[in-house]
């Protein structure tokens, strides 16, 4: 192998490395997913039922973005995965919160209904 050939190899590798460094940071799959899940959580009412978890998801996604820009892809992936877990938790808490609220309202409605029907029961001489 000639010295010239060896040099060209080094230059080529240098270009490749430079190319990688200068390319804009590509969002990872988990980052895209985290963004989508955060939007879903917001729509499900997470701001009301799981504000802390929702904020944590946003914070982790920002950290993933920052890491990705710095080329720290592994860290970006880890923070994005954590953001996904946060966003899913926020969504689940919002959904279960809505379900519990619906159950409470039905229970209260039933209580009112029961009182009303008992008031107009045959024990009342003037129903």
């Amino acid at each position: 192998m000639s010295a010239q050939l060896r040099l060209s190899g080094v230059i080529a590798v240098g270009f490749i490395v430079a190319g990688c460094a200068s390319a804009p940071p590509r969002p990872t799959e988990d980052m895209t997913r985290a963004r989508t899940l955060i939007e879903q959580a917001e729509k499900a009412g997470a701001q009301r039922y799981a504000a802390v978890e929702l904020e944590s998801a946003r914070d982790k996604l920002r950290q993933a973005d920052d890491a990705s820009k710095d080329g720290k892809q592994e860290i970006a992936n880890a923070r994005a995965a954590e953001a996904v877990a946060d966003a899913e938790l926020a969504s689940a808490r919002a959904t279960s919160g809505e379900a519990r609220r619906a159950a409470d309202e039905l229970r209260k409605g039933n209580e009112t209904l029961r009182q009303e029907t008992e008031r107009s029961s045959p024990t009342n001489p003037n129903p």
Binding site: D86, L89, L106, P122
Partner: protein, 300 residues
């Protein structure tokens, strides 16, 4: 000096052992283990959070593996994710419980409504039954009234028959029994024994028909003065009343009136007519003590 070296070696070894076991006590990993354990013990986990439980177990496994390798960052990362996934599963369990409560509450609501409707229907049935009972009782009352009316008519018919047996006559003033002049001593108010039989039957009739009343009217012919005739007719009527009283017919059922000569039933020109005009009339009420229209006296 040798002892001191030995002690420090042992101490150092002890510290190394402590350090080696320390990573086993990573706080986030402890938390993740607890969270996964808690979720796996939820009765509804298999039904409502199987995906979340599986993911959390997988992440916990990765965290344990990272601990073995000594990768503290991965331990923290996977422990965090495992905890979040387990808590998400917990939220799914809570949602499933709430949905069951919703189903239960809807069933309760329907049951309450059904009970209320059933109660209303029972109430309506009871009201209908009570109305029916009232109608039946009204019908019974009407039937009873009808029976009473029939009985009253029968009693009236019986009375009529009894009075006819007394030889009372049906007139527009009701049933009237005439006691003729021949039953009285001439020009006097004393009854002859023959009158006893007739008045005995009248008393018996009035004892049997306890609500009947009589008005006894004495009449005279045109001979003699008006005052004489009026006085005689009144005394004859009173004599009849006294006879009835002696047979137990009390005075409140009997009224005696002297009518004088003003109401002849025959001509005063003949002796036969005069004799017919000298008479005592017993006017009977109906079975309830009521007299016919046109009968005068303080009792009517």
């Amino acid at each position: 000096m040798k002892n001191a070296i030995l002690i420090s070696v042992v101490a150092g070894a002890a510290l190394l052992v402590a350090c080696a076991s320390a990573p086993k006590r990573v706080e986030s990993l402890e938390q993740a283990r607890t969270d996964v354990q808690t979720l796996s013990q939820e009765p509804l986990a298999a039904e409502a959070a199987s995906r979340e439980l599986a993911a959390a177990r997988s992440s916990l496994h990765a965290a344990e593996a990272a601990l073995e390798k000594g990768d503290r960052d991965d331990v923290e990362h996977f422990s965090y994710v495992a905890s979040r996934q387990a808590q998400t599963g917990q939220a799914r369990v809570s949602e499933a419980e709430a949905r069951k409560q919703v189903t239960q509450a809807e069933a309760d609501r329907n049951r309450v409504l059904l009970e209320a409707r059933t109660r209303d229907a029972e109430q309506a049935t009871a009201q209908a039954r009570s109305a029916q009972a009232e109608a039946q009782s009204a019908q019974a009352a009407a039937q009873s009234a009808q029976a009473d009316a029939i009985a009253a008519r029968a009693q009236a018919a019986d009375m009529q028959k009894s009075l006819e047996e007394l030889q009372a006559k049906q007139t527009e003033r009701g049933m009237v029994l005439t006691l003729s002049d021949v039953l009285f001593d001439t020009g006097a108010a004393t009854l002859k024994p023959g009158a006893d039989l007739a008045l005995g039957r009248v008393a018996q009739f009035m004892a049997q028909n306890t609500d009947t009343k009589v008005i006894i009217e004495g009449h005279a012919d045109s001979r003699g003065s008006d005052s004489y005739n009026e006085d005689l007719s009144r005394r004859r009527a009173q004599a009849v009343r006294d006879t009835l009283a002696s047979r137990g017919i009390t005075g409140d059922r009997v009224e005696a009136i002297g009518r004088g000569e003003g109401f002849p039933v025959a001509s005063n020109e003949t002796r036969a007519g005069q004799q017919q005009n000298r008479r005592v009339e017993i006017i009977f009420s109906d079975q309830a003590g009521r007299f016919a229209q046109g009968v005068t006296g303080t009792m009517r």
